[in-house]
């Protein structure tokens, strides 16, 4: 453990932090110190202490409970959005690589470039026009933002697999492009994809917070870190800690998944791994 920690501290930090965050999110589904939805105007804007370890917000809701339920909310949105982006992106990227140099490759990748040119926030605002505000459009917007990232990465990685002799050997065996993609390409690029996914997961949580802060993500009364930050703005002079706690939660979560990605990358990258031996 100690030698592993010294060799790959990012992995240990990422694993521990993300495990804690996931545990908190899971616990919040069955237990929180107070009901995060329950308002109590007489108890509004309390400082931390007593029965409210992190104080209360402008409606007298318990901040600790809101943060816990907000973690579950963020993780679910991040998971679905990154998962959808990953599946679509890897599908597109490996298809383009299997048809490298053909018109299919060109059309697919130029379309991806086009999608990549739109910022996530702009995509989200356009989607709200189409389907109305809510968790759904935040997920969709973040997923759309993730597709090009995974498409480009998986195309580049898949091309290097297609260039190997074992891919040529599979063609010599008579395997079809689809079979080679499923049996050789995807297993051999899975490592880099997983690494990227954990980095994207951190970014997705940041994006969800940003969208909710703008009021286009998670809608009230569902707790969201981004909207808590937005609400706290109004009371910054009265109770600045209201902004500090959700801010810290976002920062720690992004740090957790970025470190996890970093650590996994070191584990997967053979050059760095062999250097460690």
């Amino acid at each position: 453990m100690t030698s592993a920690a010294r060799r790959n501290p990012a992995l240990i930090l990422g694993l521990v932090l993300s495990a804690v965050i996931i545990a908190i999110a899971l616990i919040s589904l069955v237990w929180t110190p107070h009901d995060p939805m329950k308002m109590a105007i007489v108890e509004r804007l309390r400082p931390p202490g007593g029965s409210h370890p992190l104080g209360t917000d402008q409606f007298g809701r318990d901040v600790a409970s809101l943060l816990m339920r907000g973690a579950a909310n963020s993780l679910v949105i991040g998971f679905i959005a990154v998962g959808a982006g990953l599946v679509a992106g890897v599908g597109i990227g490996t298809l383009a690589a299997a048809r490298a140099g053909t018109i299919v490759d060109d059309i697919v990748m130029r379309t991806v470039d086009f999608a990549f040119a739109f910022p996530a926030v702009l995509t989200a605002i356009m989607l709200i026009e189409l389907i109305g505000p809510g968790t759904g459009d935040a997920i969709l917007a973040i997923a759309v933002f993730n597709v090009p990232v995974f498409a480009r990465l998986s195309r580049a990685s898949a091309l290097s697999v297609w260039a190997t002799d074992y891919a040529a050997a599979a063609r010599v065996s008579g395997k079809s492009r689809l079979e080679i993609t499923l049996q050789h390409v995807i297993p051999n690029i899975a490592g880099v994809i997983v690494v990227q996914a954990s980095v994207q997961f951190g970014l997705a949580i940041l994006a969800e917070a940003g969208l909710s802060y703008l009021g286009v993500g998670t809608q009230p009364p569902n707790p969201s870190w981004g909207r808590m930050l937005n609400d706290a703005q109004t009371f910054l002079k009265v109770q600045p800690l209201l902004a500090v706690f959700p801010g810290l939660a976002i920062a720690l979560t992004v740090l957790a998944f970025n470190s996890l990605g970093d650590g996994l990358n070191r584990l997967v990258d053979p050059k760095q791994r062999d250097a460690g031996r």
């Binding site: 002799d165 065996s173 051999n188």
Partner: protein, 327 residues
């Protein structure tokens, strides 16, 4: 009887990357190459770097399409077949790659690697599949306990045996071997070569055996093609060709073999050509004409720089592309 493999007029050009202002440049990797290979025979292909050997292997294996010419296997033009049809034919011609570290998927167990051609040729074998794979492994001298291991658990020589087992599992008629021993330790090269020759005797395989190492080709090949810059410069039975080279380039290759492992050379011709540095990409681009070897040839005259020699019969089964053949 038709030849097993009939290659005619095979030509492949590559468009080299070029800048905005530069005109695109074309490298002719293979230029009008023709030969045949009969069932159960070995044809060695020798030549230096950039002579087009690997391009030839890829075209014969239909991993790449020619710009001109045909590759016929049992009389069937491989490039005229529909993709699905071609995939079904692949059981008849298999390949052994140069470096078994790269030709075996590191994430697959040996059983799955060796079974790969079998799964296409005879899907749904069930429990017989494992037996067929084990038999192929035993034929190359590996124990069936190898089935459940990963490639990195084997030595280089053992990995090349696994690659050979994969090539043989569908009982092909032709095996294309692209430098199959050059990535191996010298101590195991002979073992793998002898294994390949034993397998050829037992199964009547035909080999298209590509190598830069004449000593290796001399060991295994019945007939030899010598290639230089994408063209065949000499062709003939191995023993006659090595003993009595007809092309100055062949002579330079023969003289480069260590004296300990080559056949005696008839030294009536001299002087021996000086060792030349390997050609740069610029030198390999099409010249204004003339013999491609003229720049390095000790016997070249002005005539050689102007006229391109064609492949002409100089004796029984022998052809040389030289204006002033040595033999």
């Amino acid at each position: 009887m038709t030849a097993l493999l009939d290659v005619a007029g095979l030509t492949r050009r590559f468009h080299l990357a070029h800048g905005l202002i530069e005109r695109p440049r074309i490298l002719t990797a293979l230029d009008d190459v023709s030969f045949t290979l009969a069932h159960g025979r070995s044809l060695g292909v020798v030549g230096g770097s950039g002579s087009g050997k690997t391009t030839l292997a890829r075209l014969v294996m239909a991993l790449d399409k020619p710009d001109a010419g045909t590759v016929r296997l049992d009389g069937e033009d491989l490039n005229a077949l529909a993709p699905a049809e071609l995939r079904r034919r692949r059981r008849k011609f298999q390949m052994v790659f140069q470096d078994p570290r790269g030709s075996l998927d590191p994430r697959m167990r040996v059983e799955r690697i060796v079974a790969e051609p079998l799964d296409v040729a005879e899907p749904g074998l069930g429990s017989a599949r494992r037996e067929r794979v084990a038999a192929a492994l035993e034929a190359v001298g590996l124990d069936r306990s190898a089935l459940s291991l990963y490639p990195h658990q084997f030595s280089g020589g053992q990995r090349q045996r696994i690659a050979i087992a994969r090539a043989l599992v569908t009982a092909p008629a032709l095996v294309v071997a692209d430098e199959p021993v050059s990535a191996l330790d010298v101590s195991v090269q002979a073992q793998v070569l002898n294994l390949m020759m034993d397998l050829q005797r037992e199964r009547g395989l035909a080999y298209l055996f590509i190598s830069h190492d004449l000593a290796v080709v001399e060991h295994i090949a019945d007939d030899v093609i010598v290639m230089h810059r994408g063209r065949i410069v000499e062709q003939g039975p191995a023993e006659a060709l090595f003993r009595n080279p007809g092309h100055p380039y062949t002579l330079s290759l023969v003289e480069a073999i260590s004296p300990f492992d080559r056949m005696p050379v008839d030294h009536t011709v001299s002087p021996s050509p000086a060792l030349r540095p390997r050609p740069s990409a610029r030198e390999m681009l099409p010249s204004s004409g003339g013999c491609s070897y003229a720049g390095s040839c000790p016997f070249a005259s002005g005539h050689c720089h102007r006229e391109t020699p064609s492949l002409i019969a100089t004796g029984e089964d022998r052809r040389v592309a030289c204006l002033k053949p040595l033999a």
